[in-house]
Amino acid sequence: MHRYLYFPVMLAGFLMAIGCYAATDQQPTLTTEDDLGPQIQQPIEFPHYRHAGNRNTVDLTNSDPTKGGMEINCQYCHTYARRSLTAGIPPLQKCVGCHQNIPSVRDKPRIVELFKYWDAKKAIPWKKVHDLPDFVRFNHERHIKRFIEQQGRPVQEVCGYCHGQVKEMTTARRQKPITMGWCVSCHMKEHVVVVANKDGIPEGGTPLGKQAYWYTFQKPAETKNAAGELTAKGPNDCWLCHK
């Protein structure tokens, strides 16, 4: 009996070993339970923490970059997020637009590098960090509209749902898995339906129980949670992202 099993078992083990090697070789190494993406080398080590990081509240005049940021709105540079599918990379013009008026950092190595690109009239070849497969068309606009414009949540918190604590990073690094299962884990939750629009105007679609539903393109069945509040799930239509 064992003699017959010996070869198939060895073969299966061998194939599994190859498979595991191939799998780990292709996939980015996940180092933490929060699924850190690979650290990607960018042409310029852009300090997100300096631009988007929290202000140094103790000493407002402190210009030490390690001790505070500018709290610039994410959407100031990633301006396409609120009106298109993609968040977009700002053009070089946007960097220079500010930095030509900031002489104090003009001789810092990163800024010198930045102006090299500007003088050569070349775009900076930034590399994609949150690179979804080509068949996924995640819509930034919907999420910005819902969380920031309608519910008035802080921008950095909302962006952080998917992008992690970018305000503490230099060049961005993927902190969340950004897999379909991960997306769906949020879409399958029963969220409380609330009108947070300041003018009291319900947003989108037909009102459900005198309130707007944000979530689906079809009127969902009315569901209530234990507290008696109306709840609805996110859309589960495959054709929203895959088309």
Partner: protein
């Protein structure tokens, strides 16, 4: 599922019509095609090729039935005893009918084709394993299979031609099924814009590529739920109901002078495309 369970809960298993218990609100995308206006120019088919990244397969593969025309113009000769130059014929643009009870959906082994909430029959390319069962079960034969990896096939999209590909539509690889989507990329964009502005998509705000390019305006497309939409008015004027497998006007004595009909309605797939019959010489 046991037979007793099936019989006891028959109502839950078999709906007369899928929208009986869950009506479409606020969207149901539908189409009406006036065959009397259709001149068979194929502009719709060309527009579809351009909009949806369809590969042009060439003569050999066309002969093998591997052509990928989501929108095709079928030509029907009149059998009235006359020979070719005088013989009458009519055109029929044929594309996925976006059935409400789609036969393709029920047979997909991996759930790659589903019904969306706005009444479309979705095809998810990255989910598809290429069993081709859906195509076998489609009464309209409007599903097309990628027998080759067209993006890498010579002369399909030669160098620099790939810049004309639509970025909003996946370029399909080998081994997946595809079909007309009612230009879902346009629908979704319009729906998202409308939703952001707290309204529903207005009539005329979204067009399919075929509708847009039709020189005679034979194709109308819109939201069937919206009473202001042209397609709603046409369906109503022709007394064609979405949820009937046999329209009442057919049962009238001596037939009807209304022209609206749906293809293979009796199969109970409840297509979302209504055709307006051509007024024939013999009938006038």
């Amino acid at each position: 599922m046991s037979v007793t369970n099936l019989l006891d809960n028959w109502a839950a298993v078999r709906h007369f019509h899928p929208i009986d218990d869950k009506p479409h609100d606020p969207y149901k995308w539908a189409m009406a095609i006036d065959l009397d206006a259709c001149i068979g120019c194929n502009a719709c088919a060309v527009a579809c090729y351009a909009e949806n990244n369809l590969p042009v397969v060439g003569r050999e593969k066309f002969k093998h039935g591997q052509v990928m025309h989501w929108m095709r113009i079928e030509r029907y000769w009149d059998e009235d005893g006359r020979d070719y130059p005088d013989q009458g014929f009519q055109f029929l643009p044929m594309m996925c009918q976006q059935c409400e009870a789609a036969p393709c959906e029920t047979v997909c082994p991996v759930g790659a084709t589903n019904h969306t909430q706005d009444g479309l029959n979705s095809q998810i390319y990255n989910r598809c394993i290429g069993s081709r069962y859906c195509s076998a079960n489609c009464p309209f034969k409007v599903r097309y299979f990628n027998w080759y990896d067209y993006p890498t096939t010579e002369n399909v999209w030669p160098a620099e031609m790939n810049y004309q590909l639509n970025p909003d539509v996946t370029v399909r690889g080998k081994g997946v099924m595809e079909k007309c989507t009612f230009c879902v990329q346009r629908l979704r964009a319009a729906e998202v814009t409308a939703k952001g502005e707290g309204r529903i998509v207005r009539e005329g705000e979204v067009q399919t590529a075929c509708q847009q390019s039709c020189p005679t305006g034979a194709i109308s497309f819109g939201n069937l739920v919206d009473p202001e939409s042209r397609v709603h008015k046409q369906w109503q004027a022709q007394q064609v109901d979405l949820d009937k497998d046999m329209q009442e006007k057919n049962q009238k004595e001596g037939g009807s002078d209304l022209r609206g009909y749906r293809i293979l309605e009796e199969l109970r797939s409840y297509p979302s495309v209504m055709y307006l019959e051509r007024v024939r010489e013999s009938a006038v």
